[in-house]
């Protein structure tokens, strides 16, 4: 299929957005105390690792990093079938922590709902905040991001793709039109 492709962010654009988000996270939370990052597989986990690196550069502290796979918490088993499961890996307690949940693209909000349900099964965080690289609109649930790289108005039939280089370094965000 021939797709019309627009670059929303190039590599340096992504880098700048992530650096800005890192600063915003630290500012909002008055530093890195009790702060943990949990990325949503797959994509959000790579971005969370980028944020962790930047926070370490800024604050000199390595904050805990986890990953959550939300397949077990999906609400569309009957329509989409048994999708392959990824691993959830949160090797630290969440009780009383400020969890920054990280995803690449915020769309309907259903993934975030599933991810929050998953986090609750691991403990009782003090707060959950949401960081996304792209917010493309079309929410179906009352969910909004606390930290956004770029707001991109899209049509439903369009597709937003975050691309990664071999070392899981984000390289570009593209808008694909059908």
């Amino acid at each position: 299929m021939n797709k019309d492709v627009t670059v929303i962010l190039n590599k340096s654009g992504v880098q700048r957005a992530l650096t800005r988000i890192s600063h915003e996270i630290l500012e909002r939370n008055h530093g890195s105390d009790n702060l943990v990052l949990v990325g949503i597989r797959s994509g959000g986990d790579f971005l969370a690792a980028e944020l962790q690196q930047r926070i370490q550069q800024i604050e000199g502290v390595e904050i805990p990093l986890g990953a959550v796979d939300i397949t077990m918490y999906r609400d569309d088993l009957d329509s989409r079938g048994s999708l392959p499961l990824g691993k959830t890996d949160i090797p630290f307690p969440l009780d009383g922590q400020k969890v920054v949940l990280v995803d690449d693209v915020l769309y309907t909000g259903r993934t975030i709902r599933a991810a929050m349900d998953a986090l609750m099964d691991f403990g009782r965080p003090q707060a959950i905040q949401l960081a996304v690289l792209i917010d493309r609109g079309h929410r179906e649930l009352p969910i909004r991001a606390d930290f956004v790289g770029r707001n991109v108005p899209t049509a439903r039939e369009e597709n937003v793709q975050v691309e990664f280089e071999p070392e899981n370094v984000p390289s570009a965000v593209r808008l694909l039109k059908p």
Binding site: T71, M72, L77, G81, S82
Partner: protein, 310 residues
């Protein structure tokens, strides 16, 4: 990639890729069993009936826990096989259960082929939890999961399975699975317990268990059940233990870190000596633990079994 099987009737009908998909899925589920809150909402609203025509504590409990950890409603029904002969037929029993709209029936039955019979007649998914002397797919999958977890691979391993090969559904499912995943299987047991042609399922058959154990990476002992298997097959359990039991001496013939496995329940002092059953090489309780994750994987995969483009 979705999972293409609606039923799990045996390993025979699964491809190598499907087996690996099940093991990988189980790997993801295993983590849940160590959480404080051991429950995910994956199968919320699904109803699973454990229909057991034969007594089984381990397998039924394992399936029940697996279903509950996935938030499905699980109901246990124990029926007597003998009541099938007189009175209600298997089809009627099953139709009555189906009228209550379960999504999955997990079935244990003493007659080989009974789950296939139901799968032909009912709309819901059927998971075979052991049929006669035919197959016990979830057992073979949890065995493979445990081997892969402990030794890192299955391909190229030498696996010795020892005991009553004639009446064992565990051995048949393991033969299919281990061959599909590239292991080499050796079998051994008394002359009265080796069914004709079993080597054609992919195994070398030995009468001397020492030959089967020598150099093996895994030694799997089968439960001996005189009361079920008939009095003409063996002189005494004492003699069986001497010639076909696993003990510290013959275990030395295996690889140094060979795994000792048993599908349970064990007869200590008969097919396996207590010192081996409790020894450092035994992974028998790991098998039980992994059984829950493997059964979660089966329940999850057949639930979305019918592919629909989404």
């Amino acid at each position: 990639m979705s999972f293409a099987q609606k039923h799990i009737l045996g390993i025979d009908h699964l491809s190598r890729e499907e087996i690996i998909q099940i093991l990988d899925t189980a790997d993801s589920f295993k983590e849940i069993n160590t959480r404080a809150i051991k429950k995910v909402p994956t199968l919320r609203g699904k109803t699973i009936v454990n229909l057991f025509f034969e007594a089984s504590t381990r397998t039924r409990t394992s399936f029940e826990i697996a279903g509950k950890r996935l938030s499905a409603d699980t109901i246990n029904i124990s029926a007597s096989s003998s009541s099938v002969v007189k009175g209600e037929t298997l089809e009627d029993t099953a139709r009555n259960i189906e009228a209550m709209h379960p999504d999955i029936i997990v079935m244990r039955h003493g007659a080989s082929g009974a789950p296939h019979y139901l799968a032909d007649r009912l709309d819901c998914s059927i998971i075979n939890a052991g049929d006669g002397a035919h197959e016990h797919p979830s057992q073979a999958l949890l065995d493979a999961f445990t081997i892969r977890e402990k030794l890192g691979r299955i391909e190229g391993l030498n696996v010795a399975i020892i005991g009553d090969l004639t009446h064992s559904r565990v051995v048949r499912s393991n033969l299919y699975l281990l061959n599909k995943l590239g292991a080499k299987v050796r079998l051994a047991g008394p002359g009265t317990m080796i069914p004709p042609g079993i080597e054609k399922l992919g195994a070398t058959v030995y009468h001397d268990i020492n030959q089967a154990i020598e150099g093996a990476d895994v030694v799997m002992m089968l439960r001996i059940q005189l009361e079920r298997q008939g009095k003409t097959l063996l002189p005494t359990l004492r003699e069986y233990s001497r010639f076909y039991g696993l003990n510290p001496n013959n275990l030395k013939l295996a690889q140094e870190n060979a795994l000792v496995m048993h599908p349970g329940p064990m007869n200590r002092g008969v097919e396996i000596s207590s010192s081996v059953a409790d020894g450092p090489q035994n992974v028998i309780l790991d098998q039980v633990e992994n059984g829950v994750a493997v059964r979660m994987a089966l329940l999850y995969l057949v639930s979305g079994g019918e592919e629909t483009e989404g």
